[in-house]
Symmetry: C2
Subunit: 497 residues, 2 copies
């Protein structure tokens, strides 16, 4: 294992801090492949826990998992005009299928065999609307086949020039839901429902408060009718788009001829939705909760929820504290808690604390000889606070700690977000805010893409969402914060990842 290194403080360099936290927690590592990362076991376990929670919610809302091809014929992408334009600059293209010896040695020993060139290049999926709706056209015949509710967990490739671990990588893991409905209203309800599922997950599991709403025309998904999104505010006051849900209208249905026979015998195009969240959420989790000692992980998603660190000097003490540690571990495991006992001889307790803190374990239990004598353990929360707890009934006490930590993380993040949100801003206030700390600025918007572009150019801020009713200001803004023309909708502006 690499030596533990100091983590750059947030105040010094947020971006460095983020990389340090991810690396020290062993969530991910850089790979020798440009723009691609390796998700290490601690990070992958976190992803598995996220997947399990989300997958249960997808299944509870009637969706089934399936798997579609990694490769998409280039011509499929071209069938939906906005779609191909949106992805043209970032697709990996497979053009050959064999290697040929060059006669040279070492790294130059092989080259693509020119004779294996494909007639039609294949695109490595940047998203799967085209290939999935081509299949839907085959499976959907009548209104009885609707709604068709599917989901796929898979890897995705978008050729990114500037990459960041989890936040923006050439390859990432995600899920993409794809559905077909008989009516526009049903598709709209589905897109909104899944936005709600994401919000529940991100707030209740990730303890990451989000604002939901609609994207503007210039920020919507390439090929969608309407895009809804969830936006969270990171500790550097930049917004992170944490998930999207699209009402695709009949755009793809028309491009791929997905029609169904109505009960009355007519022929209609279906209405599609698609929605996705990705490993990017891990980056959001890190930047929402972590501190200068490393990762802070909400208990519900922590790969290790509790670590037990026994403390001893003599061999006799060692036997005692390990004996108690084993018992506590068994009791917690039985209660369904993800627990580890760190019995390593090679590290002192302080070094162990340091390591587990960096890995984001929410609760540490220290067991020393005096604790054993007193029939207790010392509890130490990752987020601060130490207190003794009786060995008897330790399971219940630990669960209470974890629940409280989970709730507190959400509240702290929400308070922080609200402290960095301003409402009803004038142009001058907006400029100062965006030049200063930044955050979420709520203001009137004229709806013009030109105005949007000008604001982005001057401040780096974009419309994150036209917020849903519950997030809107008590008084609707009357004029655009930038141009002063009548406002068509309140908008939330921020600089973003």
């Amino acid at each position: 294992m690499a030596q533990a290194q100091k983590i750059t403080p947030r105040a010094k360099d947020f971006s460095e801090w983020y990389n340090d936290v991810v690396m020290q927690a062993e969530l991910a590592d850089y790979s020798p492949v440009r723009g691609c990362m390796v998700i290490r076991p601690h990070g992958y376990r976190l992803w598995e826990l996220m997947q399990r929670a989300l997958d249960d919610m997808f299944k509870a809302t009637g969706h089934e998992n399936a798997y579609f091809p990694l490769f998409i014929p280039m011509s499929f992408l071209a069938k939906e005009a906005e779609h191909v334009e949106g992805f043209a600059k970032e697709v990996a293209l497979v053009t050959h299928t064999r290697l040929k010896a060059t006669g040279k040695t070492g790294a130059q020993a092989v080259m693509p065999d020119p004779e294996s060139a494909l007639e039609e290049p294949l695109v490595v999926r940047p998203t799967s609307e085209t290939i999935i709706y081509a299949m839907f056209a085959k499976w959907i015949q009548s209104y009885r086949d609707l709604p068709l509710l599917m989901n796929q967990w898979c890897n995705i490739v978008r050729w990114e020039l500037r990459t960041r671990l989890f936040l923006r990588t050439t390859e990432f893991l995600w899920q993409e839901g794809h559905t077909a409905h008989a009516t526009e209203a049903e598709a709209e309800a589905e897109a909104r429902q899944m936005l709600g599922v994401y919000r529940t997950f991100q707030e209740d599991w990730m303890a990451m408060p989000v604002i939901t709403g609609r994207k503007t025309e210039s920020e919507k998904f390439a090929g969608a009718l309407r895009t809804y999104a969830l936006e969270a505010l990171m500790q550097d006051n930049k917004a992170l788009q944490a998930g999207t849900s699209h009402n695709l209208g009949q755009n793809f249905a028309k491009a791929f001829n997905v029609q169904y026979q109505t009960a009355a015998g007519g022929l209609e195009y279906v209405w599609n939705t698609s929605w996705g969240v990705s490993t990017r959420m891990i980056g959001g989790l890190v930047m929402t909760h972590s501190d200068d000692n490393g990762l802070v992980c909400p208990p519900k998603l922590a790969p290790v929820q509790v670590v037990i660190v026994p403390i001893w000097k003599s061999e006799e003490e060692r036997g005692q504290v390990l004996g108690v540690g084993d018992k506590v571990k068994a009791e917690l495991a039985k209660a369904g808690i993800r627990v580890q006992l760190d019995s390593r001889d090679s590290l002192k307790p302080g070094a162990k604390y340091f390591e587990w803190e960096a890995k984001g374990v929410p609760l540490r239990l220290e067991i020393g000889p005096r604790d054993v004598a007193a029939g207790q353990v010392m509890t130490a929360r990752r987020t601060g606070g130490k207190a003794p707890a009786k060995l008897e009934g330790i399971g219940g006490a630990v669960i209470k700690h974890l629940d409280e930590i989970q709730a507190a993380l959400f509240q702290v993040a929400k308070d922080r977000r609200e402290a960095h949100s301003i409402r009803g801003v004038t142009k001058q206030q907006f400029l100062e805010f965006m030049k200063g700390t930044g955050g979420f600025a709520y203001g009137g918007f004229c709806g013009s893409p030109a105005c949007e572009a000008e604001i982005k150019q001057h401040t780096g801020a974009t419309v994150r969402v036209l917020p849903d009713p519950e997030f809107r200001s008590a008084e609707a803004p009357k004029t655009c914060l930038w141009c002063g023309k009548p406002s068509v909708a309140e908008a939330v502006w921020a600089q973003a990842y």
Copy 2:
């Protein structure tokens, strides 16, 4: 949904029968992408159940999941000479990263942008030894870091010319375990342990009996020291390689410089193993158990273990039988059984039976008005046999049925395999056997690759494994069944998928 169609009988055309079973059970479908299939919800659920069982076994033996890049630099593959030679003819190569408008319309609207050509093409992983061991070199410093036990669930691409649903597709899903050890003995023990894990899974979960053993030099994995495999006999008496486990020796450690400091302070190369099973197992499951009515699925892996079909004529009866059906469903679900109640109005009971049989549901419960009156249901096993069962204690009765079906499927498959195995064959017997029904032929082998090649040319049979002791014949063969020279090992020969 597509109309239910007749399944080609096995006796008429085994290959057609297989495709029909897969399609009618809605396990998979052909995609518009050459050689790639779509795994439909019923098939994907089966894969999820396989994954869950295997993943638990991997974790129980100390392995952790991680995720490595889809792309491998071409030069990495070239670093291990046998490895690149083994895969050169079947790799998908990414060479460009942008699309460019051609000015044409429709399918020809875009082309790869020549300006986006990569300096070094990327190989879409056909297996991940090279990229994973490049990372191991970074993570492993000392003997304290060993053993390193990892696994990855992912998609894999091998450019196949002749493809078959699940059995051989350009893209498939699998898991690949990758480990590093301090000594050859530990690596060997790991490779053997994982072969045992696979056997337990395939026999206890898939109810598919397997023979284990070592591959010959000509059949081993490209870059391995030794390859172990599991071989099952399909109903057409062809063998299916159902999984492999490799002791890679120090071949990759030397190519990627994976060294560790020993306790004594010296520097040594690690010993690696890799092992994998794939969605191909689904094909094996289908061809082991299914019949002319469609899929037969072992209960432990059946996406739907029990289907309840209510039978009614009047509205009053409908209310009665559905009421009882709901109760039974709730009771079975509570007992952890995967159960569905088919309450569709649009289909008659017989049509429902037909559909669920094709989908391989192990047990059907029929509930008619007379059953309700008698306080019973009628049970019908997918594998044959009907009997009434009391409603009281139905959960226990169903579990007993499922356990018995699971056990019987394994026994029937094992008996079939043994009925199609011959031992101690002479050359003449061997030729007749391979020209006739085929199956597993146990015979002496001189160890010469030339002899092996000649046998393959004449009979289409290959050495599946040099079997492990428990599978060997009571009397060791003395001479090679083909050339008559002294035998160095007993071999199991068969025509294979």
